[in-house]
Amino acid sequence: MRILLVEDDKDVAGFVVKGLREAGHTVEHADNGRDGLFLAASENFDAIILDRMLPGGIDGLRLLETLRAQDNATPVLFLSALTQVDDRVKGLKAGGDDYLTKPFAFAELLTRVEALARRGKGEGPSTRLVVGDLEMDLLSRGVKRAGQKIDLQPREFRLLEFLMRHAGQVVTRTMLLEGVWDYHFDPQTNVIDVHVSRLRQKIDKPFPTPLLHTVRNAGYMLRVEEP
């Protein structure tokens, strides 16, 4: 995927560019708002990672507003040290698609950007999700693995649906909290881990190969183990 990074901090930018390239993406980098706006407006990107506070007279918000005024709908992820809820709301109102606060875990940034870029592609509404031998029918709300029916609680179903929609990607605890429960706070305890381990009991335990993997220091990933 082609990704534009607009970030003025050299260290952070260097580290993000390196990480994204290692993950197989093409990355352009601008270290001020003016260059960022020029690149964003003149070339095609699958996603833009945008710092809120930028030198050069055009900050992240202005850049995004200008871009949206030109009917440019490239998905944008805000990266910002401004953590207040109102700042977040402002960013999303200006046309941002996601908001990540500094400091951040790179895995989380990667996952969120990839999710955004895919959303930008606009995949059609599907009624069936498949990962390996795990199948989910969204209409009848039935789940089967290797042809065997699995009974899930409504919330477990939504958790699995979220993981299946992000199959092959790292999904962080925060993403699960927001995506499945619509909670915007940080529980002090490992509640999410308990939910995931319950789900694992049902979809992985009775079968020979696991699908739901724990990614250290990041979160979880649903994928078919490569042989």
Partner: protein, 514 residues
């Protein structure tokens, strides 16, 4: 390695706030003694009384003027028209019957005029009296056909009359007049009354000014004294209230609310600087030491990686603490009421119970729930969720295995209460007031994970919703209760609203046991 330089020390922040407070208090207690001679006029109450007196005086004078015009003016005009009519009729007699007819008419008129209020005098060209009830021609009357108001000697008595002279074709002169002694007396009475009224008004005005000044002073002296004390740095002072609910009382209440808030913010700053010194330095030091040690001692890449990962974990903890601190500060600043709206707590509680149930289950804890079908409050759904989640987090963390954690909501006439109760170690009575401070950790909780900010955040959220967090003994364990008022009121009300509300307003002070 060079010692890091901190551009802003906590002490600087505090002294900065002190200086700011002093300016505010000085502005409130604006009574800087300049020239004592003009101090009298600079008193707001005296100015108020003088202005009031002036408006009152001007309106009195206008009123008196109009009374005078409408009474004396009308009387005078009536007299003039009577004289004119009389003159015209006598001239008519002269024209129809000559001198004899005129003298006869005059005689009749004088005869029919027992109280001598009408005055007639006919003189020949030399000034000798022909007929009339006046002894001689008054010196003041020199021209014909003009009204004169002059003092006269009417035979023996002195009086004032309004008179007019008519010249006859034969050279004789006729004088017709009316005695206006009554009018003059009325005028004198009116003038005297006006002077007395003016004098009384000035007297009352002065007395009023003194009374108003003393009322103002009594009400403001306390406020002035308090704000001066605050400006000197004594934040414990509060304005005395008389609970009457009048404007001064409301001002005192408002100032006290403001001072409470300033005191809380100052406390917050102090706590946060202490916290930064301890609770943030500790993990940063740990991470730093770990990295430094690994850099010089790690034997293998795996060892190095493990050290880096643990240091990253520690830094994540620091970030979490930072975020919680900022969030509390944000909530305490009260800037987040924009997202307030009606919220039904029933689905919120149901979801949270479902969210925490598996977690409780892993420790064999039973989650016991009960609440009414509708629990409507005004608030921010996200924040209320977070507050209840924090309490559940704590309860499940501290409850002994195979015990029961109770989540319940209750409504009564004034308040909505959300209870979270466990049978864990609880918080000792003497610590409960401190439990909502930032970074409070009970002795028994020293070794459990957590930031020590959970209850502080809950208290801040409750306070933002004009409620409070109460910590009770659950015999054994802790029962945390979020108390929310049922009729949430807009904080920024007009004076009128405040007057209406002072009676039943609930204290917005957070803190257990109050």
């Amino acid at each position: 390695m060079a010692e890091p330089a901190y551009p802003i020390r906590p002490a600087d922040i505090e002294s900065g706030i002190d200086a700011g407070l002093q300016r505010v208090a000085a502005a409130i207690a604006n009574e800087a003694p300049q020239k004592p001679r003009r101090a009298f006029l600079r008193s707001a109450s005296i100015r108020f009384a003088l202005l009031y007196g002036l408006v009152f005086g001007v309106s009195t004078i206008l009123l008196a003027g109009s009374v005078r015009y409408s009474t004396l003016g009308i009387l005078s005009r009536q007299t003039e028209s009577a004289i004119s009519e009389d003159g015209a009729s006598l001239l008519h007699s002269y024209q129809s019957g000559g001198m004899p007819e005129l003298i006869l008419s005059l005689g009749n008129r004088i005869h029919e005029n027992p109280d001598d209020s009408a005055i007639y005098l006919l003189v020949d060209p030399l000034g000798n009296r022909i007929v009339g009830n006046m002894s001689s021609w008054p010196a003041g009357v020199t021209e014909d056909n003009i009204f004169y108001k002059i003092p006269i000697k009417h035979f023996t008595r002195r009086s004032t009359a309004e008179m007019r002279a008519y010249g006859l074709p034969n050279g004789d002169q006729l004088l017709i007049g009316r005695d206006i002694k009554m009018q003059v007396e009325l005028q004198t009475i009116l003038r005297d009354a006006m002077f007395w009224a003016l004098g009384a008004m000035i007297g009352l005005g002065v007395i009023g000014a003194v009374v108003i000044r003393s009322v103002f002073n009594r009400s403001l002296a306390d406020i002035t004294a308090t704000t001066r004390a605050i400006a000197r740095g004594d934040l414990s002072q509060r304005v005395r209230r008389d609970m009457s609910g009048d404007e001064f009382d409301i001002m005192a209440e408002t100032i006290n609310d403001m001072l409470d808030r300033i005191a809380r913010l100052m406390d917050g700053v102090r706590q946060v600087s202490n916290a930064i010194a301890h609770d943030l330095r500790t993990p940063i030091t740990r991470a730093r030491t770990r990295l430094e040690f690994a850099a010089s001692h790690a034997a293998s890449a795996d060892e190095l990686r493990a050290a880096v990962e643990r240091a990253t974990g520690e830094l994540d903890g620091v970030v979490r603490v930072f975020e919680a601190l900022l969030r509390i500060a944000e909530i305490e600043a009260g800037a987040r009421r924009s997202a307030f709206g009606p919220v039904d707590l029933n689905p919120v509680l149901t979801d949270l119970a479902e969210f925490y149930e598996p977690m409780a289950d892993t420790r064999g804890i039973k989650l016991d729930t009960s609440w009414p079908t509708e629990v409507n409050v005004i608030g921010d759904r996200d924040m209320l969720q977070q507050a209840i989640a924090n309490l559940l987090d704590n309860a499940i963390k501290f409850a002994p295995e195979h015990s029961t954690v109770r989540l319940a909501a209750r409504l009564d006439n004034e308040a909505i209460e959300v209870h979270v109760a466990d049978n864990g170690p609880g918080i000792p009575q003497q610590d409960r007031t401190r439990a909502t401070e930032r970074f409070y950790r009970a002795e028994t909780a020293r070794n459990t994970p957590g930031t020590g900010l959970g209850l502080a955040l809950v208290a801040a959220i409750a306070q933002l919703h004009q409620g409070r967090l109460r910590l009770d003994d659950n015999h054994p364990g802790l029962r945390a209760v979020i108390v929310l008022p049922r009729n949430f009121t807009k904080m920024q009300g007009t004076i009128r609203n405040r007057l209406r509300l002072t009676g039943d307003r609930e204290s917005t002070l957070a803190g257990p046991g109050s």
